[in-house]
Symmetry: C2
Subunit: 367 residues, 2 copies
C-alpha cells in the first residue's frame, strides 16, 4: 500500500462493456496497490455498480459526468462546446490536481484530443505518442507511435524513443532498453526520408539505439522499443491483431473438423491454452499516451477486467516513479530536438542548417 | 500445351538453394504449360543439373552467365560495369525478344534495379511496384507495393492499383477485383497526406475502389487488392511472415512439452498440417514486379520447387494474357495520372493545379 495519496481518474463509461467491467477491474488494482480511484461517469450507474463490490476500505469516489464522448469526436471545436463528457471531466481532475493520472477504455480519438487539449504537452514534446506493449515470447516490445499522429517529422520519432525509453525503464523495469527504428532494411541509409534522418538523430542521443529493425524482428528480437510513424505503427498493430485472430479461427476450424482431431485437441488443450495465454493482450492492458502533463493510459475497447486492472497498475507505476520528470530531464539533454532549435541555429550561425527541414504541418492528432 | 512459343528466362543461380531447386521447379512448370525455358547461369553447373532430369521433349536451353548479383548491388553504376550477372543476361533475353518474361529467386534489390534498367518502364508508369500474393482463408490478397519504392506520391499508389487490378483479373481470374487503400481508419479523410490524396484519385478511376481498409482487414476481408507505400507494405509483409513463424514455433514448443500434448498433437496432425497448407506461401510462389516492359516475377530466397513452379506458371499466364497491354490500355484512359499532366494542365489553364504537388524526388528503387 505504498501508493497512498496517488489518485487515478477512471473514465468508467467507455469500452465495450462499460462500468460492469471497468469498475471491478480498477477496484482490483486499487486493492493491490492502495491507489485512490475517482470513477468518472453517470453518477447513478456508477453507484449501482459500486454497490456490488465491497470497497469501503478503499479511497474511492464517484465524480459525475453527464455525457460520453462518441467515436468521431476529436475536433477541438466540438469538444470545447461539449464540456461534460467523462473523458473531459477526468482530464480536468488531473489539471485541478485532484488526480495524477487517468485510465480510459473510451474511443481513442476523443481521448487523445481531450487529454491533449486539457493537459497540454510536456515542454519539448511536439506531439504525444501512443505506445502499445506487444506480448512476445522472450519479453514485451514497446511499439510507438501506433496512431496518435501521422506524417511525423524525424525528430518526433526521436521524441517517441525518449518517452518510450522512460516507460520501459520505469514501468517494464528494463535497465537499458534497446531502441530500434522499424524499417525495411537493417543497414543505415535504408528506408524513407523520415527514418533515415531519424537514424542519424537517434545515433547522437544517449539512448541505447541499436539501429534499424525489419517487420520480421517485431515478434522475434531482443529489441525493447520500436519507433515508427503512427501510420506505420497503427497498421502493424492492427495487422498483428488481425493475423492472430485469423490463426486462432483457423486452428479452431481445423481441429474441430473430425473426431480424431477433436480428441487430439482435447488432449492438447492445456498446451493450446498456454499459447493463448502467451499471446494475451490483456496482460499489458493499456496503451500509454506519452508526452502529456499527466499520466494517460488508453485501454482497448474490448478490454476485460484483467486488462483494466493492469492498465491502472501501470499508470500508477508510471506516476509514482515520476516518469514524466525523467522525460523532461532527458529532453533537457537534447536541445537539438526542440522545435525552434533550427531557427535558433539559423539565427546564430547565419546559415541554413541542412538537415530536418519541413517544420510546418498540422500538429493535430489523427487516428 | 497452349503456351508453345512463349519463352521464360529463368535466373537459375539465385535463391538459397540455387539450380538444384530452381531447375526442377521450372521444369515442372514447363511440363504443365508447354512453355519454353532459358536457364541462365553458369553453363557447367546448369548442364549438370539438367542431366538429372529428363527434359528432351521440352524447349529448354542453357544461356551462360559468369556472375551472380550480390545482395547489395543495386546502384546503376556498379551494374553498368558488371555486365555478366545472370539477372542481367536474363533481362537482355527479354529485351532481345528471345524471351517474354523472367523468373528470379535472386536478391530483390539487384533484380529490381537490373530489370528496370534493361527493360524500362511501361509508358505512363513512374515506378514499378512489387506485389505479393498473401494466402488467406477465403481468397488471396494482392498487396502492392511491398518495397520497390519508398516515399511514393499519391498517383503512384493509383498506378500500383491499376497494375494489380490487371494482375488480379488476368492471373488470379477475379472478374472485378476490389481495391482498397491500406490505412489507419476506414472513413474518407483518415490517414496521412499520401493516402488521403490517393483516395480521391482512386475514386475517379474505373477501378472497383472500395475505400480504406485497416491492418486488421488484411487477413480478414474480401478485398482483393491493398495498395500502399512500399515502406508500409514491406513492413506489413515481413511482420506477417515473422508473426506466422512465431506462432508456428510456439505451437511446436507447447505441443511437445509433455506426453499428453504430444499424443494430442499426433492425433491432430492432419489438422495442423492443413493449417500449414492454408498458410503456405509456396502456393503463389512469386512476387510480380509490375510496370516493366516484360514479365518479371521475383521469388522468395527460400522458395522451394513448388514456389518456383507456381511463379513460372503465373509468369506464363501474365504473359500470354497480355497483361501489360491491358495495363497500357487502362493508363490511356487515365491521362491525369501521367507525370506531366499537372504541367500540361498548368500550361493550358494558366493556373496552378492545387492537388498532388511534390513532383520531384528520386526515381531509384530501394528495398
Amino acid at each position: 500500500m505504498s501508493n497512498k495519496g496517488t489518485v487515478m481518474a477512471i473514465d468508467a463509461m467507455g469500452g465495450d462493456w462499460g462500468p460492469s467491467v471497468i469498475v471491478p477491474g480498477a477496484l482490483r488494482a486499487a486493492r493491490e496497490t492502495g491507489v485512490g480511484l475517482r470513477f468518472v461517469g453517470r453518477d447513478s450507474e456508477l453507484r449501482l455498480e459500486l454497490e456490488q463490490h465491497s470497497c469501503q476500505d478503499l479511497d474511492v469516489e464517484v465524480v459525475h459526468a453527464d455525457e460520453v464522448a462518441e467515436a468521431g469526436e476529436k475536433s477541438s471545436h466540438r469538444m470545447r462546446k461539449k464540456r461534460g463528457t467523462s473523458i473531459q471531466v477526468a482530464s480536468h481532475l488531473i489539471k485541478d490536481g485532484r488526480a495524477q493520472g487517468l485510465v480510459s477504455a473510451g474511443h481513442t480519438g476523443p481521448t487523445l484530443a481531450t487529454t491533449m487539449l486539457v493537459l497540454g504537452r510536456i515542454k519539448g514534446i511536439d506531439r504525444p505518442g501512443l505506445a502499445t506493449i506487444l506480448p512476445r515470447e522472450n519479453k514485451p516490445l514497446l511499439l510507438v507511435d501506433v496512431g496518435a499522429n501521422v506524417d511525423s517529422k524525424p525528430r518526433h520519432l526521436v521524441q517517441f524513443a525518449i518517452m518510450a525509453d522512460t516507460l520501459a525503464r520505469n514501468v517494464l523495469k528494463e535497465s537499458s532498453p534497446k531502441v530500434g527504428i522499424l524499417n525495411i532494411g537493417e543497414e543505415q541509409g535504408k528506408g524513407n526520408a523520415q527514418v533515415t534522418e531519424a537514424y542519424a538523430m537517434l545515433k547522437s542521443t544517449s539512448l541505447n539505439f541499436v539501429g534499424n529493425m525489419e517487420g520480421r524482428d517485431v515478434f522475434q528480437s531482443d529489441i525493447d522499443i520500436a519507433v515508427c510513424d503512427g501510420f506505420v505503427g497503427n497498421i502493424a498493430l492492427k495487422l498483428s491483431e488481425g493475423l492472430g485472430r485469423a490463426f486462432g479461427k483457423m486452428l479452431k476450424q481445423e481441429l474441430s473438423r473430425n473426431r480424431m482431431s477433436k480428441l487430439g485437441a482435447l488432449m492438447a488443450r492445456p498446451a493450446l491454452n498456454r499459447i493463448g495465454k502467451r499471446l494475451d493482450y490483456e496482460e499489458y492492458g493499456g496503451a500509454p499516451l506519452l508526452g502529456l502533463n499527466g499520466t494517460v493510459f488508453v485501454c482497448h475497447g474490448s478490454a476485460g477486467q484483467t486488462a483494466i486492472c493492469q492498465a491502472v497498475k501501470m499508470a500508477v507505476e508510471f506516476t509514482t516513479t515520476k516518469a514524466n520528470d525523467a522525460i523532461r530531464q532527458t529532453l533537457e539533454m537534447h536541445p537539438e530536438l526542440s522545435r525552434f532549435h533550427r531557427f535558433r541555429h539559423f539565427i546564430s550561425s547565419g546559415q541554413k542548417s541542412g538537415s530536418y527541414s519541413e517544420e510546418g504541418g498540422s500538429e493535430e492528432q489523427q487516428g
